[in-house]
Symmetry: C2
Subunit: 223 residues, 2 copies
């Protein structure tokens, strides 16, 4: 079982999906803490409704990023978590934070990295005029949206579709590949070889591949 | 019918596919000239075997890029071509060349642009450790691998697969989406709106979507 702290800043739709899949037993993860940097963010209400421990640390009340990250490190350790799941957490993490949880900080980005890093991934993809976009689950390193890639999903960008509609289609795949990637981590099936992550074989049958999308590695049943 | 000059530098597998599909009548394109900058390149032999007019202009015999491109422009006009199909042509084109054929120069790149531009697209994708790569058909502008995107195909990068094996899987999709994109151009179905290309509806039924790949817009029968 993973002992996870979920870090989020806003709506928390990826967090909600993890609440649901851990409650269902599909995702082998104890959610020890839901940590949010924005008072009033919907993810805090979602955590309360799910009966999960949550904490708001308002980053604007800290003198600098280092003090804020140290408070997060302390809260996460106090909660007994060692795996950090970034789910729409809109703050860069300090090297000190990453060193506190080496190889245990995971993020999802709404683009097919290395295309469209940064905070406007799906809007940038829309502006560029790509025909295929997607999302990427990756380990976090000290460069934004740069670490080793665990899983990706590609989706079409329909003619005339705006950035919001594209983002919705991408979100749908985020909600599948992110819990799946965490489950692989929980099962110790992710082997890091340089920047390459090899997935060790498991016992679960594969899910039916989604229509009009490409997911790799393939999703397993339940995800 | 398009009146095309195919520009290539090497093996010419994309060119061969176009020879075959024009001969079969699937691709509405007259190949007026196959133009190569490297003496002895296999694409020249392929053109001869297909009975197509070919010309080798060895770029090393020209004083500079401008003179070389002017010789190409003259040869292309002389052949009666107005659409330039880059098929593994390993030379940057001058602004003068692009202005000679405005909006009529098309390229394929072995990556999901804007990821991995440049001459080592599929090797760079392999080195990065992406789980999904692919290829992109685009109009050429004055920035390398940057113009408006016509079609893309996404393919998985299998665990342990080397750059050559990935490149082969990408090539297979290149051979489908490049002729398809040219056929859309031949049918005047590509509408440029800023950087966005809208595909007008056609009469042909869709092809069965390929296994383990995502192509967008969807391929039509024959491609």
């Amino acid at each position: 079982m993973l002992n996870a702290a979920i870090l989020a800043s806003g709506n928390g739709s990826n967090a909600q999906r993890m609440f649901d899949l851990t409650a269902a037993g599909t995702l082998s993860m104890n959610i020890r803490l839901v940590l949010c940097n924005r008072p009033g963010a919907r993810v805090l209400e979602r955590a309360r409704q799910a009966g999960l421990p949550s904490l708001c640390l308002d980053h604007t009340t800290f003198p600098d990023r280092e003090h804020f990250d140290r408070a997060m490190i302390a809260a996460i350790r106090e909660a007994g978590a060692d795996t950090i799941v970034l789910a729409g957490f809109m703050r860069m993490l300090t090297p000190e934070f990453l060193h506190a949880f080496p190889g245990r900080v995971i993020n999802i980005h709404p683009a097919l990295l290395p295309s469209f890093p940064g905070v406007h991934g799906s809007a940038d993809a829309n502006a560029y005029g790509v025909k295929i976009s997607g999302c990427t689950v990756h380990f976090v390193d000290e460069i934004m949206d740069h670490g080793a890639v665990i899983a990706q999903a590609a989706v079409p960008h329909l003619d005339g579709e705006d950035a919001d509609a594209l983002q919705q289609r991408i979100h749908t795949m985020e909600h599948r590949i992110y819990p799946q990637a965490l489950q692989w981590l929980a099962e110790n099936r992710l082997v890091l070889e340089g920047r390459h992550i090899r997935l060790l074989p498991g016992n679960r049958p594969l899910a039916t591949p989604p229509d009009n999308a490409l997911v790799w590695p393939p999703l397993e049943a339940g995800f």
